[in-house]
């Protein structure tokens, strides 16, 4: 009675060569598959990227609660005036060489639409010179107009751009100058 010697079954030189070849091929396959070229396909175009964050001009609705409403509230919550505010939507319109390539409504953040507005849009354009026009304007006029201390209710940028293939023209908001700028 003998135990299983557990000796390798590979003894034939041809099989040994085949085993070594298979192992090397597997290693080569792993190394090759870790560096597979991928054509993203964006490089022959250019892009206009619009991105900014700004506090929109808010509309505030105030009203005086009725006597019954006040009576139903605890004493410390009986305010004589209740105000709710929201930022009306802005419309973003982008034209390149006079052709509108983007026309969307942008809502303020938050469930009550009272948070800052985030704009992010990336538009593909052909490389070369273009006339770019960006208008970002509030749809509904907010209270108080656009005074120096108020957020802007209308932003505009009209610029000539010349983009190389793959280049991104970044349009963003300059808080100090309170205007759209291109970088």
């Amino acid at each position: 009675m003998t135990r299983d010697p557990g000796a390798p079954s590979v003894r034939n030189p041809l099989l040994i060569a085949l085993a070594v070849g298979t192992a090397l091929l597997a290693a080569f396959a792993v190394a090759a598959l870790t560096r597979v070229p991928y054509t993203v396909g964006d490089g022959d175009l250019a892009a206009v990227r619009l991105t900014w964050r700004m506090a929109g001009q808010a509309i505030e609705d105030c009203r005086t609660p009725s006597e019954e409403e006040l009576a139903a509230r605890p004493a410390h919550m009986r305010q004589t005036e209740v105000c709710e505010s929201h930022v009306p939507p802005y419309r973003l319109r982008v034209q390149v060489d006079g052709e509108t390539i983007e026309d969307i409504l942008v809502l303020a953040g938050g469930a009550h639409e009272d948070n800052p507005i985030y704009v992010y849009s990336e538009l593909r354009v052909a490389p070369g010179p273009h006339e770019l026009s960006v208008v970002f304007a509030q749809e509904e006029q907010a209270d108080g107009g656009a005074g120096d201390s108020m957020p802007a209710d209308r932003l505009e940028l009209h610029d000539a751009i010349d983009l190389a293939p793959g280049q991104v023209a970044l349009v963003t908001y300059d808080r100090e100058a309170r205007t759209l700028v291109r970088r």
Partner: protein, 566 residues
């Protein structure tokens, strides 16, 4: 649900039809000790350690303030950095492949449900964490691929209403990417793998004596190959990410970013739906892949009347499903108790019980004796014949089962018909190409068992004492037992007096064990030939009449098996 489970059974059969030839080919090339498909699980542990060690080295030189520059410097180090970085990358790639093979294997082998559900789910979590960790690793380099990955990840996250500001704005080029981003990314890249070791502990928590390292031959082979390819073909550097340039081309790692070309074309919410849907289907495999009720083997059961409290089944159970409880009838004495929620019905305990009082219904030592008795009556092996006692997953058993006329595994058929047994033998012989040896001595016969690990040694004793020339047990490779540890315990029971040992009265010259997986028929052939030559030199085996195998270990004063019970 029944229809889904029947569909899952078909899918499993299809997977097995892919796995079996692959296993056979690997066994033929590397032998079962070096078959990477068998050891895919433990290979992952080795690779995680490689990742940890190479990662520590890379961490020393990585700078979050200059990610691309620091990785470029590491890559350019004259003697070390280049190949260490490549080794880190290749090891992580092979880890993904190994986990996928491991999961595929367990699904194909019907080991993805029941008490194995925890291992299945934690295994998928390990894969998921590895993929995420790989993602953060690629972002660390901050090349074009990193830019694509970061932008894509941000796009997915930004559809979730949980962030106060869109994450994607960090990568638009409006401002320099904050170092905090690279710090967080690095933190995730380190923390996630540490978490993986905890999940790994959970993954093997239901196993007794979990083995976490591959056989040395395979270990050295995998490490040597990885090292060789790392030195011969190190990883280069791609251009640094530039948010103000549209990437024209990138270099992708298929193992980690295979999804990128597809998801970039999909709206973010559909990526979430598809990802969560696929993950849900995979995680719920223990539910939908469970066989229909009539195909599920019942869990083991201990007959307290026969249990002597020897603790052998408790020690041998590969899943720690057996506990020893104190008897209520005799203080200080114990009996085995199987937890059906943990038992996978492998029947390993059946082979460990000398009085044959434990095992799944129909698989206890007593059931095995009944089967072999009937089989011997039909087949009547002669003194010049070798009986192959073949595990149905091993080299001989798989072929026999495939050739059998039965629609169910032979070992589950209570009464083996002569026609069926002969067909099975023909199948095994064809696979083994045993005709030349059969011409020298008698035609070998095949007796199939569900697992060599639950084979009771009394079956072998019965075959030898019934007059067969010899009994050759054909077991699976030790590290690829479908039921864990079966071949290991079998060897110890046959050769090292492990309870329930092969009795001393059995002529040892007529018993052998060989570990051979499908594809290693050559080993079995060699053993049959060697055994045949020895048989020719031996005196002819004589059949005993009225064979009586002891099935009771301990009797009470009145000669009855000890009564027990909770």
């Amino acid at each position: 649900m029944t229809a889904i489970r029947r569909l899952a059974a078909r899918l499993r059969s299809a997977c097995l039809a892919i796995l079996a030839p692959a296993d056979r080919a690997m066994n033929r090339l590397f032998g079962h000790e070096g078959n990477p498909l068998y050891h895919s699980g433990v290979v992952v542990v080795t690779l995680l350690i490689v990742l940890l060690l190479t990662g520590v080295y890379l961490l020393i030189f990585y700078r979050i303030g200059d990610p691309h520059g620091s990785v470029t410097r590491i890559t350019g180090q004259t003697f070390t950095g280049g190949w260490i970085r490549a080794l880190h990358r290749y090891a992580s790639d092979v880890a993904v492949v190994a986990i996928a093979v491991h999961a595929f294997r367990l699904f194909a082998q019907n080991r993805s449900w029941g008490p194995r559900a925890l291992a299945w789910v934690t295994g998928l979590i390990l894969l998921f964490v590895l993929l995420i960790s790989g993602w953060t690793g690629y972002v660390m380099v901050w090349d074009v691929q990193a830019q694509l990955l970061a932008v894509e990840g941000a796009r997915w996250l930004d559809v979730l209403p949980i962030f106060s500001e869109p994450i994607g704005r960090a990568f638009v080029g409006e401002a320099e990417i904050p170092a905090a981003f690279f710090f967080l990314n690095l933190f995730a890249h380190i923390a996630l793998p540490i978490g993986m070791f905890i999940v790994l502990w959970l993954h093997v928590s239901r196993l007794a004596r979990p083995v976490l390292s591959p056989p040395r031959r395979l270990l050295y082979g995998v490490l040597g190959l990885l090292l060789l390819i790392s030195v011969a073909w190190p990883i280069g550097m791609e251009p640094v990410a530039d948010p103000l340039r549209l990437p024209e081309r990138a270099v992708l790692d298929v193992f980690y970013t295979f999804w990128l070309p597809v998801t970039r074309l999909m709206p973010a919410w559909t990526v979430w739906v598809a990802g969560l849907g696929l993950s849900g289907v995979a995680l719920l495999a223990p539910v939908w892949s469970r066989p229909v009720a009539e195909e599920v083997r019942e869990p083991s059961w201990v007959n307290p009347r026969l249990c002597t409290g020897c603790e052998q089944c408790y020690q041998d159970c590969p899943y720690e499903a057996i506990a020893m409880l104190e008897r209520t009838d005799r203080a200080g004495h114990f009996y085995g108790h199987v937890d059906p929620a943990v038992c996978v019905s492998c029947g390993i305990c059946a082979g460990s019980c000398a009085p044959m009082g434990v095992g799944p219904p129909g698989m206890t030592g007593r059931d095995q004796l009944e089967r072999v008795e009937e089989w011997l009556e039909h087949m009547k092996p002669g003194p010049d014949q070798v009986v192959l006692v073949a595990c149905e997953h091993g080299a001989a058993g798989a072929a026999a089962t495939a050739e059998s006329l039965s629609t169910r595994p032979l070992s589950e058929v209570a009464a083996v018909t002569v026609r069926d047994a002969e067909a099975a033998a023909r199948g095994a012989m064809r696979a083994l190409d045993a005709a030349p040896t059969a011409a020298v001595f008698g035609q070998p016969l095949v007796f199939t068992v569900p697992c060599a690990g639950n084979l009771h040694t009394s079956v072998v004793e019965y075959i030898v004492r019934a007059g067969a020339g010899a009994a050759l047990v054909v077991a699976c490779p030790p590290r690829d037992c479908w039921n864990r540890e079966g071949p290991k315990w079998l060897i110890e029971r046959m050769y090292e007096n492990r309870e329930a040992e092969l009795k001393a009265r059995v002529d040892r010259r007529r018993v052998r064990v060989v570990n051979a997986a499908p594809g290693e028929e050559r080993r079995v052939r060699a053993e049959i030939a060697a055994l045949g030559e020895e048989l020719a030199r031996m005196e002819a085996a004589e059949a005993e009449e009225g064979i009586r195998i002891d099935t009771i270990c301990e009797l009470d004063e009145s000669g009855q098996p000890i009564e027990a019970g909770p």
